[in-house]
């Protein structure tokens, strides 16, 4: 009788990259629904455009590199990039802005660095930063969340589609009529205009911790993130690091000078903090790799988010924080290498 020749181990892994990516996508579904509820159908258009261009970029680049596009697409990583980018965009974004970000993410950041597993930078964040700088006007058109306010203006599905396709608003509406400052913008400019935190909080747009409506998105991201933790798709080190790195300095500053600083709760529930902690910073490819290194990496991101929001010229800073820490990853990896068993400094005996 003839048998098959193989190499040990003969047991096979029960995990694969595709199912990990699909679970990340699944964990984003609650937040996606919430996004549509609060900010209208724009998110769906953005997601469709981003997915189309990410997938298109993936096909283009794998072809150009002489690889099989089907194999590359079947790991779903391009779609995860598209989804994360879509979450970063204002709900009203013209398609060419989204397309630019998507193509830059996939073509330049992912494939020019060698494709999945080899990209130094988080593709979605790099793509976002490029369009943030290239299209500042479009990237600042945030609508107010649907909270039942009297002055709330929403665009219908058709109007949203038209804006996405042509970049023009309905005739009766101007850019200023629907655009609202985000809670982060309001907080940053308010504090810089010497208003106190308590004063700014009296603005009706503020909710329990962050902005009304805005802060609810955070809960859905946290819910999805918790599920990923339970499923062991992500580990606790990076989210904990991000949150501690942000909340500890925020807390200290708030205690020292509660008038001129936003509360830690505001930092936590504003902008992309929670999305970043569970979904963006946890991208394993561009993150540090050892458990200790990941905690350090997360802390660095949290700290940078705090610094940019507090002193920087951008209101949020998640994308910049992530990209800067991406650059630090090799150094972190090198400096946080675990001690190999048998190499402990006490010469082996550790009684």
């Amino acid at each position: 009788m003839e048998f098959v020749r193989r190499d040990a181990p003969f047991l096979t892994p029960k995990v694969d990259v595709a199912s990990m990516m699909l679970q990340v996508l699944a964990a984003l579904v609650p937040a996606a629904l919430a996004h549509v509820w609060y900010f209208g159908p724009g998110f769906i258009f953005n997601l469709v455009v981003a997915t189309a261009f990410c997938v298109g970029g993936e096909v283009l680049m794998t072809r150009a590199r002489g690889r099989d596009p089907v194999v590359a697409l079947s790991d779903f990583s391009a779609i995860v990039t598209a989804a994360l980018l879509a979450f970063a965009l204002p709900s009203l974004t013209p398609w060419w802005v989204t397309a630019t970000g998507s193509l830059f993410a996939i073509v330049v950041v992912k494939h020019l660095y060698g494709g999945l597993g080899f990209n130094v930078f988080n593709p979605a964040m790099a793509g976002y930063v490029v369009i943030l700088i290239a299209f500042p006007l479009e990237m600042n058109l945030w609508v107010a969340p649907r909270m039942g306010d009297i002055d709330y203006i929403s665009l219908s599905v058709l109007q949203t589609a038209k804006y996405t396709l042509t970049g023009s608003l309905p005739d009766a509406l101007t850019f200023d009529a629907i655009s609202r400052a985000t809670p982060l913008d309001a907080m940053q400019s308010g504090l810089r205009n010497m208003r106190t935190y308590a004063e700014i909080r009296t603005n009706p747009m503020m909710g329990d911790f962050g902005g009304r409506g805005w802060e609810w998105l955070g809960n859905f991201f946290a819910f999805g993130g918790a599920w990923l933790l339970v499923k062991k798709i992500i580990r606790w080190q990076i989210p904990t690091g991000v949150l501690l790195g942000l909340l500890i300095p925020a807390g200290v500053m708030y205690i020292v000078s509660p008038g001129s600083n936003a509360s830690p709760g505001f930092y936590l529930f504003s902008g992309a903090t929670i999305l970043c902690a569970f979904f963006i910073a946890t991208d394993p490819v561009s993150a540090a790799t050892s458990p200790k290194g990941r905690f350090v990496y997360g802390c660095g991101i949290g700290l940078l988010i705090f610094a940019i929001r507090k002193w920087g010229s951008y209101a949020d800073g998640v994308a910049f924080a992530v990209l800067i820490m991406n650059m630090a990853t090799p150094a972190i990896d090198y400096l946080t290498r675990p001690t190999i068993v048998g190499h402990s400094s006490r010469g082996g005996g550790n009684e």
Binding site: M1, V4, D7, T12, V15, V17, L116, R235
Partner: protein, 503 residues
């Protein structure tokens, strides 16, 4: 009797694997009859091949020495039954690399006549320890946990160290394998008796008997025998069921809470580890003069009709063993000698069962996985590595063939347990890649050594040639000088001789 305890050291990483052990432990050990033909490799241990001491056509008896220990790391081989030596020839064996190895083939006469006279040492304490060790060497006993290091040499090395603990390894952490479990259940006396011999030979006061928590029957039975023996030196320790807690260094870490230094041995931290099977083999040899000619092996997997533990003569082919316990099922596709994590697959069941064979695992078609994709640096491999390596980094450097980085990231500390493979979402065969990288590093080192030797030879030759040339030059110069000095006289002499001749 000492109760199982939990005061253990910490093992990093590891995996909880589906055990599949109860498949083969539902019935007692089955005795496999002596086959018609025995195939005994002369290398059944880690070390120098044994030297055959029988000729073709010679009749041998059960337990007779047929190949003697040779070299510093040697172990003898004994005939597993009586019969006639019919050949000494290459035969397929289970090895990871290479196919055939020299074997002594015996045609059994079916009488199974043992060799006389029998030398028994029931009062082994009357022998001096070093005589006992020499005696153990003659029994052909090797480590039965899988590494098959010659036991006597291991003990002789250990006796030179300042030891504190003997650890009996009854952990058997790899899935499917249950031969040590069954041994402890059915031969607990032999196991603990072997421990007592070892304690005497090594002059030690403490022996931990480490058993994994998923073997309650074995723990119970050992407890009973311990109570009977009333030997205070033997302490039963229950260790958690986690792979690979049964690795030698990992067990020392768990049981004695000591870290074996890289490249070192447990004796460096005053511990000695012996497999329970080895202890029982020592007991059988010292007390009953039964050399290592049979062992207990687990036959299991979804490819065999009746998963069971068997006691079988060494040299019986795997095919014979499986046939005796009911043969294969229709779905048998993979034949693995050893466990599913560290075993070796073979293509044919003609391979003989040897001292190292703790398990014959027959599995169905391997699960077809999606293709290997690039590493996404998820780091799961690092979190399960019992040696705290960073397999993802090692893989990177292995691809780049960066020897210096591979060394500094501890490639040589890799114990090839296979944990990283099982958690890799990219389905990268990490353990295989590391095995290859290790082989390349060894090759490179050999090549360097060869190049160095060649360089030295070349330089020596150049030097010699130069010296010879110099000597020749000097000689020539001397001759010229002599000739020049002798000049006038010589000419006169020649002229004189010519004149004389003319006359």
């Amino acid at each position: 009797m000492s109760a199982p305890t939990y005061d253990l050291g910490k093992l990093h990483g590891g995996l909880r694997l589906q055990a599949h052990k109860s498949d083969s432990t539902s019935e007692p050990i089955v005795q496999i009859p002596v086959p018609d033909q025995l195939i005994l490799p002369i290398t059944q241990h880690a070390g120098d091949p044994a030297q055959p001491v029988v000729g073709i056509g010679e009749r041998v008896l059960k337990g007779q020495l047929i190949a003697e220990a040779h070299g510093s790391l040697g172990a003898p081989v004994h005939a597993s039954s009586s019969g006639k030596v019919v050949a000494i020839e290459p035969w397929p064996v289970s090895r990871r690399y290479g196919d055939d190895a020299p074997c002594i083939v015996i045609e059994c006469d079916g009488e199974d006549r043992p060799i006389e006279p029998v030398e028994k040492h029931p009062d082994f304490e009357s022998l001096p320890p070093d005589a006992l060790l020499t005696w153990i060497l003659q029994g052909g006993i090797v480590g039965l946990g899988g590494a098959v290091f010659p036991t006597a040499q291991k003990l002789m090395q250990a006796i030179t160290c300042n030891l504190e603990y003997l650890i009996l390894n009854g952990v058997e952490c790899e899935p499917y394998i249950s031969c040590d479990d069954m041994l402890m259940r059915e031969y607990a006396h032999n196991v603990l008796g072997g421990a007592q011999i070892l304690l005497y030979a090594l002059d030690l006061k403490t022996c931990y008997v480490a058993v994994e928590s998923d073997k309650p029957d074995a723990i119970h039975r050992l407890g009973e025998v311990l109570a009977e023996l009333g030997d205070e030196r033997l302490i039963l320790k229950q260790v958690p069921t986690i792979y690979p807690s049964g690795g030698e260094d990992q067990l020392v870490q768990l049981v004695a809470n000591r870290e074996v230094p890289s490249g070192g041995l447990p004796t460096d931290v005053d511990c000695l580890v012996q497999n329970v099977g080895t202890a029982a083999a020592i007991y059988d040899w010292v007390l009953h003069n039964e050399s290592l000619i049979s062992r207990i092996t687990t036959v299991t997997g979804d490819g065999v009709a009746r998963p069971v533990n068997v006691e079988v003569r060494l040299g019986t082919t795997v095919g014979d063993v499986i046939e005796h316990v009911g043969g294969y099922t229709g779905q048998a596709r993979q034949l693995i000698i050893g466990g599913p994590m560290t075993g070796k697959s073979v293509t044919s069941d003609r391979v003989p069962l040897v001292k190292a064979t703790n398990c014959i695992l027959v599995l169905s078609e391997p699960v077809s996985l999606s293709d290997e994709v690039p590493c996404i640096r998820c780091g799961d491999c690092a979190s399960v590595c019992p040696v705290q390596l960073l397999p993802q980094q090692l893989f990177w450097y292995a691809c780049a063939d960066d020897e210096a980085k591979l060394r500094s990231y501890g490639l040589t500390d890799c114990i090839e347990c296979g944990c990283c493979d099982l958690v890799c979402p990219s389905h990268i065969p990490l353990t295989f890649d590391f095995r290859m990288a290790k082989a390349r590093i060894r090759e490179l080192a050999d090549e360097k050594a060869r190049a160095e030797r060649a360089r030295q030879r070349f330089e020596a030759r150049n030097e010699r040639l130069e010296k010879e040339q110099q000597e020749r030059d000097e000689e020539l110069a001397q001759q010229k000088e002599d000739a020049r000095n002798a000049g006038a006289d010589a000419i006169a002499e020649i002229m004189q001789r010519k004149q004389d001749e003319d006359k």
